[in-house]
Symmetry: C2
Subunit: 406 residues, 2 copies
């Protein structure tokens, strides 16, 4: 009996060694025996990618992006071959493909290529021939046949894009956690697994620090309405469904709490309050390749203001250099950096239609005597920058305040 097509993606920890590859094979075989067609996307074994990067860095700390893609793409190629062998061993038919072989065509932005289209004819044919199709994640190929990679977490994107292209009934993302949690269970043991979450919420959670799934892949899933099921490869429990509308009868206001401790706050003091000043500053920063995250500006009555923003802490020195130069040119005051900060955020589509959510958040922090240094809001999230030492306490207080442990 034919029961539909499922795309499954297994991350590096799910295929870290031969034993785990055999477990994945067993799971795939079980699905097959139930009557599903299967396309399985696999990441590189465990730490393979990091080991290859280390090897390259021994030769050149700034290796060519094209050659880096040539190198890194081997990791997934090893995984797919081994998984196909493990499935054969269970007596089922499987065939492995590289990204190039299944026509995952990308632009030529090596190390962070974008998928242009997928020529899935080869996959469709293999499925028609009754085979389980194993596809190397994270990689594609340009029209000139150069191998590309899709950036960190790119295997998620491969899976979602294939699920869309093949109109799969579900896209399962297997990982080493059981799903998306209301917050990081290592910080708040009462964190609960979320059963259903919307693409938008998941996108906020991903970009705000939840590491489970790559943000770009969620964007694509949202755009094409691909149903995603994030679950553990070490258990049979169902995980978290990521869908368009997650709400049932009752409205949950806040879905989860995220924490990000990898940012630095930079403040430019006494900025003249003239049009074009902020534009100039952030144009210079983005020109240097540094991504800016949260930006806060308050215009004071004396026609001068402070502009604060956060950058990834790895970019701190680069950003400070550019900002200092720009500050001198614009005649502002001091440029300050603060590396002792954390960002804590609440995420939930429900908060759009509920007043008082922000107030409730600030109350929770205040009740623990946690000072808020910056505030930023979006449609479905509110973020506060606080002192890093209060980070975990803040997460726990918010988790409790919004009743997420229940």
């Amino acid at each position: 009996m034919h029961r539909g097509l499922i795309v499954q993606k297994y991350g590096g920890s799910s295929v870290a060694n031969v034993e785990r590859i055999q477990k994945v094979a067993k799971r795939v075989a079980d699905y097959r025996k139930k009557g599903y067609d299967l396309v399985v996307v696999v990441s590189a074994l465990g730490d393979t990618t990091d080991e290859l990067i280390e090897l390259a860095n021994q030769i050149d700390t700034e290796p060519s992006d094209r050659e880096m893609d040539m190198l890194l793409s081997t990791g997934e190629q090893i995984s797919v071959a081994l998984l196909a062998m493990a499935i054969h061993k269970l007596g089922l038919e499987a065939i492995s493909f590289t990204g190039a072989q299944v026509g995952i065509i990308t632009d030529s932005s090596h190390t962070k290529a974008r998928i242009i289209k997928i020529n899935a004819g080869k996959i469709r044919q293999a499925l028609r021939n009754g085979k389980i199709v194993i596809v190397a994640g994270f990689q594609g190929v340009t029209l000139e046949q150069d191998i590309t990679t899709l950036g960190r977490g790119g295997s998620d994107l491969t899976a979602v894009a294939l699920a869309k292209e093949l109109a799969a009934d579900e896209c399962e993302i297997y990982t080493d956690v059981e799903g998306i949690y209301t917050t990081d269970p290592r910080i708040e043991p009462r964190a609960k697994k979320i059963k259903r979450i919307t693409y938008d919420e998941m996108l906020e959670m991903a970009s705000l620090g939840a590491q489970v799934m790559q943000a770009r892949s969620i964007e694509v899933a949202k755009k094409f309405n691909v149903p995603i099921h994030v679950r553990s490869s070490f258990s049979d429990k169902s995980g978290t469904m990521i869908v368009k509308e997650a709400r049932h009868m009752e409205e949950v206001v806040v879905s989860g709490i995220t924490l990000n401790k990898s940012e630095t706050k930079i403040t430019v003091c006494d900025v003249p309050d003239r049009p074009g000043i902020a534009a100039r500053l952030f144009k210079d920063i983005s020109g240097s390749g540094v991504s800016v995250d949260m930006i806060v500006q308050n215009v004071s009555h004396i026609r001068q203001t402070d502009i604060s923003f956060t950058v990834n802490k790895l970019d701190t020195n680069k950003a400070m250099k550019v900002v200092r130069r720009a500050a001198r040119a614009m005649g502002t005051g001091d440029v300050l950096k603060d590396e002792g900060i954390a960002r804590v955020s609440i995420v939930g589509v429900g908060m759009k239609s509920h007043s008082g959510v922000a107030a409730k958040m600030f109350e929770a922090l205040a009740s623990h005597k946690i000072n808020i240094e910056m505030i930023s809001t979006s449609d479905i999230s509110i973020s506060c920058i606080i002192e890093k030492k209060f980070a975990e306490a803040a997460v726990r207080s918010l988790h409790e305040k919004f009743g997420l442990g229940k």
Copy 2:
């Protein structure tokens, strides 16, 4: 100044680690600076291939050939990317390609594919753009885009085939020895490096046990008259040239002595002397996938005979099973196996026109009281099967008898 095109091939030991890869890059760069165009073929790093085979065998001792090729081809892909990076680091332009990318089209005999044609347009274009071209050895691709490998030593074939296709001025095979020797220097310290050797002699040497170069690649070099230079990647000394005609003024009768200790002798006793019996026997054996090497039969006056032949010792059990079955069906006598044998051979185009070479060989062995169990001859070689324990002594005695140490 443009000085011509050289194809260089570096084996696994030449690129076993980052330091050696950097040395190869330096050598390539030196050639480039002298004005040569370069196509560089690289094998997998050191023991990578064996490690990947081990990984596959943990999953399945008889993995699918197609998936094995998918797996093993990653080894060379890693090498080419790293070598390209190392050349970039020296400030030169280089670009790496997989076998598939440079259009090395093969049949679909996975793990031992044969090259059908090479669509070298991509390489020619890269050369025109002034780039050093790095090509993954050992691999190709079918017209259906399945990745194939060319069998053990297949990188030699990649190099020779590319040299032919691109009409290179020379094909250099870099290895961990300084060239072809009159015999194995570990057995006979007085062994001498051979300056020039013919394709035919080299072919005999390769198939008789000299491990320096893959036999098929020499066949191809001979067919298309590709000049080959076998040399060491650890020294600047010139090595051995493999050419059509190696002789100068004086004729060297015997060029080298080879030894092969990896065979088993199988003897079928009391075989009825009827037409078709040998055909039947060897058809059954080849049908089982076992390659037979030396075959000797002597018809006796009583219309019965013994047939002896050798097989690779890894195939002993498989061969014995088939032969016993065939022997029963044909009504022969016992089937015996002897694993304690060695084959020692003398090789040289000169022997065709010189009588007494065989006699001289048998004399040398007799003078050391070494009994000869089987004899087989070709146009340019004579091989004797002897007891394994005399193998090294036989090599030394022949090396001296034919004056090769001088």
